[in-house]
């Protein structure tokens, strides 16, 4: 398809959005980076000097290290759960009778558009102390003897996050399943492969890019998740984003909060860019 070249038209079409983004995205982000280099005192407030003390504190105080480590751990586990359950489910959906599939797509993808606060509230109700529904159910089917602590624990946050992120994983794997040639499975079977071999040798390698890009999305979103860890984790079990929130709105130490936020941003961008590059290089030959 021949594409037109018309600088005036392009500029006038793109100018409004570009101006908006520069004015209210780039400038605020730069201001935030600057803010992280200012100092703050209980009585002085924000002082616009230029110091690295917030950054030094974030990197040297083990309190911050622990929180960032927890953020990574929680995100990793939530991603793992989502991949372990979301990928097989996408495959099951793919093989389902289209009428049922439509219904279950709605059930599984629908939560994506539902208020995160409402969904997390649901988990809080399910976990709710020792007599939460989840514990009663698990004890009822004899899986556990004593109630498990879910509320205010990393386990609880991981489960709720996996639930919140699950649709992204299903959607991503679903998209890669859609690109498959349905005859390829038949080809493998005609060559003598069992169902298990078909999945392991033919299907899985082909949807791996989908699982990996889903994992990148889920990991990035989990690492920046706020409402879920805030509600399930409570005030004690902090992650990076709830830490930044507390520094900003409770302690009022904006520069320190800005440093935490900027570090979170840089970390996430690095992880996304690096893993995208890895995935792309690994699969460039095969799929592009």
């Amino acid at each position: 398809m021949a594409e037109g070249r018309n600088p005036v038209a392009v500029a006038s079409l793109l100018l409004p959005a570009t101006l908006l983004f520069i004015a209210v995205l780039v400038i605020p982000l730069i201001m935030t980076v600057l803010l992280s280099f200012y100092s703050w005192g209980q009585y002085t407030g924000i002082v616009e000097d230029f110091t690295a003390e917030n950054w030094i504190e974030v990197f040297t105080d083990p309190y911050f290290g622990e929180i960032f480590l927890r953020t990574l751990r929680i995100s990793f586990l939530a991603t793992l759960l989502a991949a372990l359950f979301g990928a097989p489910e996408a495959y099951i959906l793919k093989r389902m009778n289209p009428r049922w599939r439509g219904l279950f797509m709605l059930v599984i993808l629908g939560p994506l558009l539902m208020s995160v606060v409402a969904r997390t509230l649901g988990w809080a109700l399910l976990f709710g102390g020792n007599n939460g529904v989840a514990n009663q159910f698990l004890m009822g089917i004899g899986l556990i003897d004593a109630p498990l602590p879910f509320m205010f624990t990393e386990t609880g946050v991981v489960i709720a996050l996996a639930h919140v992120m699950m649709p992204f994983m299903v959607l991503s794997v679903w998209a890669s399943l859609q690109r498959l040639d349905p005859q390829v499975e038949n080809a493998a079977r005609s060559l003598g492969a069992s169902q298990f071999t078909v999945v392991r040798r033919v299907l899985l390698p082909q949807i791996m890019p989908g699982i990996l890009s889903g994992s990148i999305i889920v990991f990035a979103l989990s690492a920046s998740a706020f409402a879920t860890p805030a509600i399930i984790g409570g005030r004690r079990l902090k992650v990076a984003s709830t830490l930044a929130y507390d520094e900003f709105l409770n302690t009022l130490d904006w520069p320190l909060g800005a440093a935490v936020a900027v570090l979170l941003l840089i970390g996430i961008v690095l992880i996304i860019v690096a893993s995208n590059a890895l995935v792309e290089r690994r699969y460039a030959e095969v799929f592009r």
Binding site: N186, A187, L191, G192, F287
Partner: protein
């Protein structure tokens, strides 16, 4: 008993009858084509032989073994899919090796056979290429090699050449044929291209709307089509209405001695079997088109428009507006009592 026997095969999807009354015997080493327009049930038939679709009723017997109850993985058939269905994450050599691996063949002889198979389809040196980086024709060859390397009892091909351009298709046709002749593998080809079916097969199975119209050698089917459908599907045909009166066939001014009861008949004639003569069916040339090795004529007659093909062999030929007489050898025409309405 033949090598492969399909008896009374029938397949329905809900109310749709995709295939019925399907009976076919295939001899070992034969090259059979299933030929028919899109939607006539060719793929359904092939998929039932392969085991990906279960027949609603009927039997499929291969070398005395019942196939219907056997899972596809156990049937030992080689299949070339229309989309090729290559494993995109495996190289050409790994694709070809897959079936051998499934059969537990050791690495050394596997490598040997993969090399042989790729060489056979003219892909020496392409072992480590991924399918995405091969042309359509090359992918096609990998698919053929992958299907043949397991030494299948039958090779099944579903419109294997329809994604190739015209030149490539002809090249692949002759290669396919020479490979099949060399290996002697029993082959069933699905195609909607009559030229392809006739060029490749020992026998064609002409199908329409889920039913077999005719099973015959290409020459037989072309010269003696069993129905007007077969006649028109296997190339251009003129259908003229005539009458038999006391052992003489009368078509306009044309006369020929025939045997048969008196009454109206439909006369079918291939365009290349008609010639310009000094007597015969009278007409006027309305248009002629040069086609290189021949001229294609449209002749207006009292019977309607007639198509005539004449060799471009240097002989003088009529031009537009000329009054002509058409005649033919009675041996070249088909006579049918039915089908008058199709004229």
């Amino acid at each position: 008993m033949s090598f492969l026997e399909l008896s009374d095969l029938r397949k329905t999807y809900g109310n749709v009858v995709a295939l019925e009354n399907f009976n076919l015997s295939v001899e070992k080493g034969e090259f059979i084509s299933l030929l028919g327009p899109s939607g006539c049930g060719k793929t359904t038939t092939l998929q039932m032989i392969a085991g990906f679709t279960e027949p609603t009723s009927g039997r499929i017997v291969l070398g005395g073994r019942d196939l219907v109850s056997m899972p596809p993985a156990k049937r030992g058939l080689g299949i070339v899919f229309q989309s090729y269905a290559l494993f995109p994450h495996l190289t050409a050599a790994e694709n070809v090796a897959f079936g051998l691996e499934m059969r537990g063949i050791d690495r050394a002889s596997r490598e040997e056979r993969v090399r042989e198979a790729l060489a056979m389809v003219g892909l020496k040196g392409y072992e480590d290429r991924y399918p995405r980086r091969m042309s359509g024709g090359q992918q096609q060859r990998v698919a053929v090699a992958r299907a043949l390397v397991i030494r299948p009892e039958i090779l099944l091909l579903d419109e294997p050449l329809s994604n190739l351009d015209a030149k490539m298709r002809e090249e692949m046709q002759s290669e396919l044929l020479s490979i099949q002749r060399r290996l002697g593998t029993t082959t069933i080809l699905v195609t909607h291209d009559q030229q392809e079916a006739m060029a490749l097969s020992n026998r064609v199975v002409v199908m329409s709307k889920g039913r077999i119209e005719q099973i015959a050698t290409p020459v037989e089917a072309y010269n003696n089509p069993a129905s007007s459908f077969v006649a028109s599907f296997l190339g251009k045909t003129n259908t003229l209405s005539g009458e038999i009166r006391g052992g003489t066939l009368v078509v306009g001014e044309f006369r020929a001695a025939v045997s048969g009861a008196d009454g109206p008949v439909a006369v079918t004639l291939r365009p290349e079997k008609m010639r310009f003569d000094s007597t015969g069916l009278r007409g006027t040339v309305t248009a002629r088109v040069f086609q290189g090795n021949c001229w294609s004529y449209q002749v207006q007659t009292a019977q309607g428009e007639v198509l005539v093909l004449r060799q471009n062999d240097g002989q003088p030929l009529p031009v537009e507006g000329d009054a002509v007489f058409l005649s033919w050898s009675p041996a070249d025409m088909g006579l049918r009592r039915e089908g008058l309405s199709h004229g």
